[in-house]
């Protein structure tokens, strides 16, 4: 049993390395800026969803307020850069650290809540933060922040001529999020989280410190999502509260993991690779007129996948494996 599991883990790692290598070569063949843009977004959503999955999938604490951490990352980087000239790289780390701390501070009272009470708490906390930022004049209020371009450089993490640097950063981020998940899956934390998810009372009685393991999951998850937010701010060079911290974004971030397979290693990647290009393509082919056709297609897709494949898209691939196990 153990060796079977170890074999599977080794195979996962090899597959991931191959996929990452293939993805890294993709820009050699794809020169179209529009397609490159979609690839960057796909990788970003894969990374975000993978990070969301750590707390909500593995540990079972469904957060529909993760836009809070994304927004914190984006705003910390953008504010430090525009107001104090701090390089985005430091802003990224600062944003991640602040988010992880806030996630733990919020987790302290919230992790006593269960089920829908917890979910709604995550929504309203993010919503409070959104309203506060929308009314915070120094931070640009509802209009947001325009990040001035100071020329292409890795130091300032700004690139106007090519999307490739963003692509490779997003790829690295997706790989890191995947690898962290892979590594945690077989650590004591991974086992604690699954125990907490399946039955918190039983886990507690067996000596799992339920509260601490939730806190750990929240911190890791929030840190990675905030780094994603910092990246996004640099990538689009303009942020506003609603688009980086809105409830809609919390759901969009969760979607690849949910449709791909919540609480699975490959679910978020698979979900993002299928969902994001599909969304972007529908948007540009049928939604240009702003008449909502893209929303109809997108929503119908969500309904169809969640009803047809409750275990996510990943279950299509693991049918054989399930039989073997």
């Amino acid at each position: 049993m153990d060796t079977h599991f170890a074999q599977r883990r080794r195979r996962d790692l090899i597959v991931a390395l191959c996929l990452a290598a293939l993805a890294a070569l993709a820009p050699l063949f794809v020169k179209d800026v529009y397609v490159q843009n979609i690839m960057v977004l796909t990788l970003m959503y894969a990374a975000l969803s993978q990070s969301w999955n750590i707390l909500s999938g593995y540990c079972g604490q469904i957060s529909l307020g993760h836009a809070l951490y994304f927004g914190l990352g984006a705003y910390t980087t953008a504010l430090l850069f525009t107001k104090f000239g701090v390089l985005p790289w430091f802003g990224m780390l600062a944003g991640g650290a602040i988010s992880a701390l806030i996630a733990m501070a919020l987790g302290y009272p919230c992790f006593r809540l269960r089920g829908h009470y917890f979910v709604i708490a995550t929504i309203v906390i993010a919503e409070i933060a959104l309203l506060l930022i929308q009314n915070w004049d120094w931070a640009g209020a509802a209009l947001g922040i325009d990040i001035p371009m100071r020329g292409d450089s890795w130091l300032k993490f700004q690139f106007t001529r090519s999307k490739l640097p963003y692509f490779y950063f997003a790829l690295a981020l997706a790989c890191i999020a995947w690898f962290v998940t892979w590594w945690l899956e077989d650590s004591k934390w991974g086992y604690w989280w699954r125990a907490v998810k399946d039955n918190p009372d039983a886990a507690e009685s067996l000596g799992v410190v339920v509260f601490n393991s939730k806190m750990g999951a929240a911190a890791v998850s929030a840190f990675l999502v905030a780094v994603g937010g910092s990246f996004y701010a640099q990538f689009v060079s303009y942020i506003d509260p609603e688009s980086v911290m809105g409830f809609q974004f919390s759901l969009l971030m969760a979607l690849p993991a949910v449709l791909g397979g919540i609480g699975t290693l490959w679910g978020p990647v698979l979900g993002a690779v299928i969902l994001i290009p599909l969304t972007e393509l529908t948007r540009s082919f049928v939604g240009g007129s702003g008449r909502g056709v893209d929303l109809i297609v997108y929503g119908a897709l969500i309904v169809a996948i969640s009803l047809a494949l409750p275990r996510g898209l990943v279950s299509v691939f693991s049918l054989r494996k399930g039989a073997a196990r």
Partner: protein, 292 residues
């Protein structure tokens, strides 16, 4: 800030709170019946407001008269949504909670898209209705008539709901199905029929609220989003599973919103509602009236 302003805004807060209760009633009913949170609840409200608008625009039916028609239309809509989507979501053998959240969320997106497609994203309003823009003065306090009628309608709806749940056969079937959906089959109650009627009833309640809201609020495809969150908080504040908790929750939310608007800038008025929700569940993790 005079005592008069305070009383004035608390009075309008109370009226608005009763309307919030009516908006949330359907959500609470459905949750209590089958443990499903409808993430398209706000879009149900949006559709109800559009139906009211078009009945007015094309047939010149005043919202006050069309309210029962809107409720009937939403009843059918709610039952159809159950039969076409939710019924299947409940059969999911894995991740049932997420399947329910995201299948109804997907529905919400489709509904918003359809509204944009057919009704355009333009803001619409009902220019001249019997109640629109009118106020009534009681002991020096000015109350807007649409909200006043809405509040009275909300009280009436909750009273009717009370008798309906406790005194009719269907109400008893509803309660029994909620207690044990498996056992009711033994006494010949069709679970699916009860659930479909429950969804119809829940949607009809939000339809009633939508007809009143259409009198004094702008109508546009995304209008449901902001009210949906308030409705979730209202239901959770009262305690999931308690329909009458939603009534109390609505009143509290309305009063807290009005109080916050007195202290903070109006754009922050929702912060008070959210803060009170957090405060309540941190002290009572299952809401005010939820079973412990």
């Amino acid at each position: 800030m005079t005592a008069e302003t305070i009383i004035q805004s608390l009075a309008s807060g109370l009226l608005m709170g009763l309307l919030y209760g009516l908006i949330a009633a359907g959500l609470a009913l459905i949750f209590g019946l089958m443990d499903v949170v409808n993430f398209a609840h706000g879009e149900f409200l949006m559709i109800a407001m559009y139906v009211t608008f078009f009945l007015f625009a094309f047939f010149a039916i005043d919202p006050l008269l069309s309210a029962p028609l809107v409720a009937a239309a939403l009843f059918v809509f709610g039952a159809v949504v159950y039969l076409l989507i939710v019924r299947f979501a409940m059969r999911a053998k894995a991740n049932a909670g997420m399947v329910q959240i995201f299948s109804t969320f997907g529905l919400a997106i489709v509904m918003r898209g359809l509204a944009q497609y057919f009704f355009t994203p333009d803001y619409r309003s009902i220019p001249q209705s019997w109640l629109g823009g009118k106020t009534v003065s009681i002991a020096g306090i000015y109350l807007p008539e649409p909200q006043l009628i809405g509040a009275m309608l909300s009280i009436a709806a909750f009273v009717a709901l009370y008798f309906f749940i406790n005194r009719t056969d269907f109400g008893r079937a509803l309660e029994a199905t909620r207690e044990d959906a498996g056992a009711v089959a033994l006494v010949g109650i069709d679970k699916n029929r009860v659930f479909a009627l429950g969804w119809g009833l829940g949607a009809a309640l939000v339809g009633l609220a939508g007809a009143i809201m259409a009198i004094f609020f702008y109508i546009y495809p995304d209008v449901g989003a902001s009210f949906a969150l308030i409705a979730y908080v209202t239901v959770a504040l009262g305690g999931f599973g308690s329909v009458f908790g939603a009534f109390a929750g609505g009143i509290i939310v309305g009063l807290v919103e009005a109080t916050t608007a007195l202290i903070l800038p109006p754009s922050l008025k929702s912060v008070g509602i959210y803060a009170v929700y957090l405060l309540v569940v941190f002290i009572r993790p299952r809401g005010l009236f939820g079973s412990m």
